[in-house]
Symmetry: C2
Subunit: 148 residues, 2 copies
DNA sequence: ATGGTAGTTGCTTCACGAAAGAAGTAATGT
DNA sequence: ACATTACTTCTTTCGTGAAGCAACTACCAT
């Protein structure tokens, strides 16, 4: 295992990391719950579904997209389904599989909550990234934590 | 609340965010547990203590530094104390307060686990940040999620 | 081809542990 | 004395991994 020491810059980043990993999701989630009664994870699931072809995704696919375990995804899907924001329909090409499909109510709810999410991400994150190449950063983050 | 739409770059960043907020901490923690039997949060606590004046911090201070609730910090401190990695001593200027003090064993454990943490952060994060101004990013992240 | 069976996959249910928040306790300050 | 502060204990919620179940695939024997 490589143990070349960190440069001072990298070291500073490592020390700042808990902010990003622990504080940021809590802060955004708190905004979403307070203003929209829609936790961040549920918002994320709706967002992924809304962008999927035919507004649907297999459960496993959705779990991955939400960075959630499959069992965790089942739980969230139950919550969303009980609220009528998604439906579950059997996959037509594999009878073991279920598709989560976002409903019209789900799309409406997503629309309604969108500005809160946007403002929250701005306030907690984007507003602090002056001078950072955001496009490059976004691309970089896409590759983060790929292997486990 | 401001709802100016996101630029495409910002939008890409927002969509990549779950990686950073959910997958990254899980990945690093998994490495720490697998190779060192020392969860990331415990490592973080030891690291903060090791750098504090007189190797000690008040519980509340430490909780903040670890981005943890006070009750959560109590729990972690109990675990570390049972392992002899920290001690609790009453604060001499406020009898309500406790100082968590890292022991020699704690320092040794931190040293021992350091390379794993370093390698993990490199592998999951730093290695993917080509072209990013890391110094600037570190400074920026320091300001993330300040308000709740 | 046809069917049997072994193994894999997709999802849910169950059992557990981690973290937050509320309520409680003890010491301070005014 | 009363309100506030520092921490712990208690309660509830959230998310994981393991176990369970149903359905699909692959392989072989006939």
């Amino acid at each position: 295992m490589t143990t070349r020491p960190l440069s001072p810059d990298e070291d500073a980043l490592v020390r700042a990391l808990p902010r990003l990993m622990y504080a940021l999701p809590r802060a955004i989630d708190a905004d979403m719950v307070r203003e929209q009664q829609l936790p961040l994870i549920e918002w994320t699931a709706l967002m992924r579904l809304s962008e999927a072809p035919r507004r649907r995704m297999r459960m496993g696919e959705l779990a991955t997209a939400c960075e959630l375990s499959l069992s965790g995804m089942t739980r969230i899907a139950n919550v969303l389904e009980r609220q009528g924001l998604i439906e579950r329909v059997r996959s037509d090409e594999d009878a073991r599989g279920w598709n989560a499909v976002i409903t019209d109510a789900g799309l409406a709810r997503l629309e309604q909550a969108w500005p809160t999410n946007l403002a929250s991400v701005r306030r907690h994150l984007l507003d602090h990234l002056d001078g950072i190449d955001v496009a490059r950063l976004a691309r970089a983050i896409g590759n983060v934590a790929l292997t486990d």
